[in-house]
């Protein structure tokens, strides 16, 4: 039995702790026995993962569902793009490419920048809940205290930048 994401629901997957970057895995679905994976432009990854693989990846949490039957129209303009997705490469480079942010231990622990980013964002969501406006907070991610600042987008705290002082 697979942990399936059906054609009628889109989920955004966040790895809280992983041995390998999910972005890497989803870009090479052949490396995942029994997995079907693809990336829909603007909508993030669509994946069907065997349960054993899900377990190996760590804790994968479904953040939300959007757009019934959305697979029929991948460019669905009504899709809620504010639900966490695989982060933009510019954002990853901005945050993790600055050595003064001291985030290398977090990246190493989570197996990649995307996984580390998602773990930080999930920690912010867990710590702050929903809201409006802007925020600055400190979250514990993999044993490290990470300062995160950003803005709420459609009620969800999204990352502007993150660093370990």
């Amino acid at each position: 039995m697979a942990d399936a994401i059906t054609s009628s629901d889109f989920y955004n997957l966040t790895i809280l702790q992983a041995g390998k970057d999910i972005g890497d895995l989803l870009s090479h679905p052949g490396e995942i026995p029994g997995a079907i994976a693809s990336v829909a432009p603007g909508l993030g990854p669509i994946a069907e993962l065997p349960q054993a693989v899900s377990g190996a990846l760590g804790v994968i949490r479904a953040i939300g569902t959007v757009g019934a039957g959305a697979t029929d129209d991948l460019s669905n303009p009504n899709a809620d793009t504010t639900v966490p997705q695989l982060p933009d490469q510019n954002k990853l480079n901005h945050i993790f490419g600055n050595p003064d942010h001291n985030l290398d231990p977090v990246v190493q622990q989570f197996g990649g920048q995307s996984a580390a980013y998602n773990a930080i964002e999930q920690a912010a969501i867990n710590g702050l809940g929903s809201g409006t406006g802007t925020y600055t907070t400190v979250v514990e991610v993999g044993g490290a205290n990470v300062t995160v600042t950003g803005a709420y987008v459609n009620g969800v705290p999204r990352i502007g930048t993150a660093f370990i002082p």
Partner: protein
Amino acid sequence: MPLNELEKAVLEALLRKTPNELHILERQLKEIDVSSRRNTGGGFYCKLEPNKIAEPSSAKFIGGVFADVEGLSHPMAFVLFIKEGFIDTLEGAATDENTANIDFSNVRFEIIE
């Protein structure tokens, strides 16, 4: 290079967040120069050359300042990094938006504190 208008306004707002360090950091900001600017697409980094004759600060960073910036739908977050007691880098970070086409030296903005 001199500070641009956005950098000036953000630095003034950031310094108001640290009343205990205000006078030290104000002295460091006198005659400050920008040694480099980099638009990363996720925001920007502005490397600063402060007046190092001034007393060092005990702060490591100052945050908590945001701005609505023309061309972005969500506020940018700003952090001033202080290295070994001296102002080092001003970071501006966008939330979920690409900044590659924004000229931060010629952009309209409004500080949110």
